[in-house]
Symmetry: none
Subunit: 402 residues, 2 copies
């Protein structure tokens, strides 16, 4: 396989444009109807495009491995998801718009409830409303500015969730979560798994103890759980790696966060597929690569709501001609991982893949669904290799060797 360094040597500039549409969790399994969501959906535009595209299936991580959204997206963006693990704290931070520096650690935090003996009674502090969360974060920021030489900042998320950013020297992220994982268990402190992470563990634990003092008067939110404490991974962005000015068009924080990590510029304030289409049109001349994320196929998959999932696919399909009309050189429609409504969860099943461009093999299938893609000319491939095909189709790769 080509490897990151050799691939970088093959990159050439071009003015071609690539659109990567990710229907999150699109892949499914047959339900009692004997059909998958894509097979049930009335998606004439995707089917028509499939008829003139190369089809295949992609493995997000590996055979049998069910991925979280983070690694599944990294893979689709061409990064080895096993080599580049991104801490959940980092994803949360990026998701709410915080760009981490190399001397920062981020933790995903929950407000929680403890009794005087340190037993965790509620891991989400009764899911306090977001306004409460904002009030509490203000109090913390006012009262806990620094611990030793480390600067502390907290940022409210939704409901009981917030992010803690630690800024300082010698903060390493070999840390285990401060979370008993179940209620009615004794609270936990952060533990370091290696010597160099001892300072970070110490600061994080002092933060928890200071927070107990500052929030002592609160009825519900009188402690916090710290999870996924991590630094920004050291990875090259799309510009450096592929020579692509990349735009992320997504509605949900986590995907926007991931996009920032790989160096994309992120469109803001989008809520619907229609918003996303408008954003794509407005920015089509300003970027080379567009990551277009559709969230609700996954949300309905997790809910086991087949009708809802099918409807989102149909909604996107109705907008597809608008994307085609923009004339991208390459368009890829795929998913990050499968979220079968029959399982109400992410799964390991490979993703349907469609690549349309100028230099295509001929596929027999003219349906965009799992079984047709299984017989496609791309075969079953690692998602990590899709970017190489998109670069090739957009004439952005030089020849390897003479």
């Amino acid at each position: 396989m080509i490897g990151e360094d050799k691939l970088k040597n093959l990159i050439k500039e071009n003015n071609t444009k690539i659109v990567l549409v990710v229907m999150d969790g699109a892949g499914d399994l047959p339900d009692e109807s004997g059909k998958t969501a894509l097979e049930q959906a009335d998606i004439p535009n995707m089917d028509k495009l499939a008829g003139k595209s190369e089809l295949g299936l992609t493995l997000p991580i590996d055979y049998g491995i069910t991925p979280g959204s983070g690694p599944a997206h990294l893979s689709l963006f061409g990064y080895d998801p096993v080599k580049h693990e991104i801490g959940r704290g980092v994803l949360e931070a990026y998701g709410i718009g915080i760009e981490l520096k190399s001397n920062q650690l981020a933790a995903r935090a929950n407000f929680a409830t403890r009794n005087k003996d340190g037993i965790i009674l509620d891991r989400r502090a009764g899911r306090i409303p977001t306004e409460e969360n904002e009030r509490l974060c203000k109090i913390i920021n006012k009262n806990i500015d620094k611990i030793d030489d480390v600067k502390i900042e907290v940022y409210p998320g939704k409901e009981h969730r917030f992010v803690v950013v630690f800024t300082g020297e010698n903060l390493h992220d070999g840390l285990l979560d401060a979370d008993p994982e179940e209620v009615n268990k004794k609270e936990k402190l952060v533990q370091n798994t290696d010597e160099k992470s001892s300072k970070a563990a110490d600061i994080a634990n002092k933060f928890i103890k200071n927070l107990h003092v500052v929030l002592a008067g609160e009825e519900k939110a009188n402690t916090c759980l710290l999870r996924g404490i991590a630094k920004k991974p050291a990875i090259n962005g799309f510009k450096e790696r592929y020579g692509l000015n990349a735009r992320a068009i997504a509605t949900y924080p986590m995907y926007k966060g991931l996009s920032r990590i790989v160096g994309m510029e992120v469109a803001e304030d989008l809520n619907t597929i229609e918003d996303e289409i408008t954003s794509l049109k407005e920015d089509f001349n300003n970027f080379d690569f567009f990551y277009f994320h559709i969230k609700k196929t996954d949300s309905y998959g997790e809910d086991g709501n087949r009708k809802g999932k099918v409807k989102v696919m149909e909604e996107f399909d109705s907008h597809l001609p608008e994307i085609l009309k923009l004339g991208p050189d390459v368009i890829c429609v795929t998913a990050d991982h499968s979220t079968p409504t029959t399982m109400s969860a992410h799964s390991w099943h490979p993703n349907p893949l469609l690549i349309y461009g100028q230099n295509l093999r001929k596929d027999r299938g003219s349906k965009f669904d799992e079984s047709t893609c299984a017989e496609g000319v791309c075969g079953t491939m690692y998602a990590k290799n899709v970017m190489q095909l998109l670069l090739a189709q957009s004439s952005r790769l030089k020849k390897f060797g003479a």
Copy 2:
């Protein structure tokens, strides 16, 4: 790819059951009838199961590589067969029930005939009967107890085959065989390929010379050839690696030996497929994973006996409903390697693969044969990854990343 360490982190306990049926050497090539063995066989139960399973093809080692039974099985058990090479001596030892310790070396030995000038006249000593072999091993054990500080034990196998176990400190296995490989050639001594294996080479060669003295009066079996001298490989067993209590149901020594190496408990005294089915039924509640080996598809393949091979497939097929009736959560039917009757030998052609479970993609095929499997939703995959699919289908893997 996920890698051994990361996979281990994803393992979760469950009470699901997996049956892995290995029809040894099942894959074939079309003969003059234009059909493969699976295509000729009347196997309605496997075909019916194929109709509701995921199909594919597996590469035992790599494209074009013909494996021995050892590496082909290791791969199917999820171990990298190139990284974990198992010496033939070790396989032989395990096959006759000897569990090797870390300070032991095992050699696969033949009784052979030499003349007074050290020319090997018969590499199998005229295929002496097993009783003769047992008599000779008794003599050796009585007369050669120790060489320097190394303990010597020999164990009779069938006909001219026996196993030598060397026990002592500083015995390393960088050794070349003491075997001229052809008759009427000068005998060979063991050679060491590195410095640290010099003691082992010295002891092995002293053993051969002592044996010449001890068996000087024998007409045929007056020397031995030593091959595949090796230590037990340091690999984790199924319990440690996958959290699976595994049972091996096999009739032949070598497969039982391999199973012991990967930490399976081995059923004893089985001779027929019917015996094996009975054993599976008896132990179904006592284990999580069952390796069910069918030997004679391979034996008939090696003999070029198409009719015999087809008949064994049909025999197994008639028992398949009994396995299904036990209600395993996952059943996989496949082979370790192909043994085409048209070649009378192992080959590199990928193996047909069928995986039945609860969370399946839909396959269009409803025949269990090579061409149908080639169009299956699993595609062509490395056999090493099959275990990951079986673990996923049996809900024994956690999600990778958030």
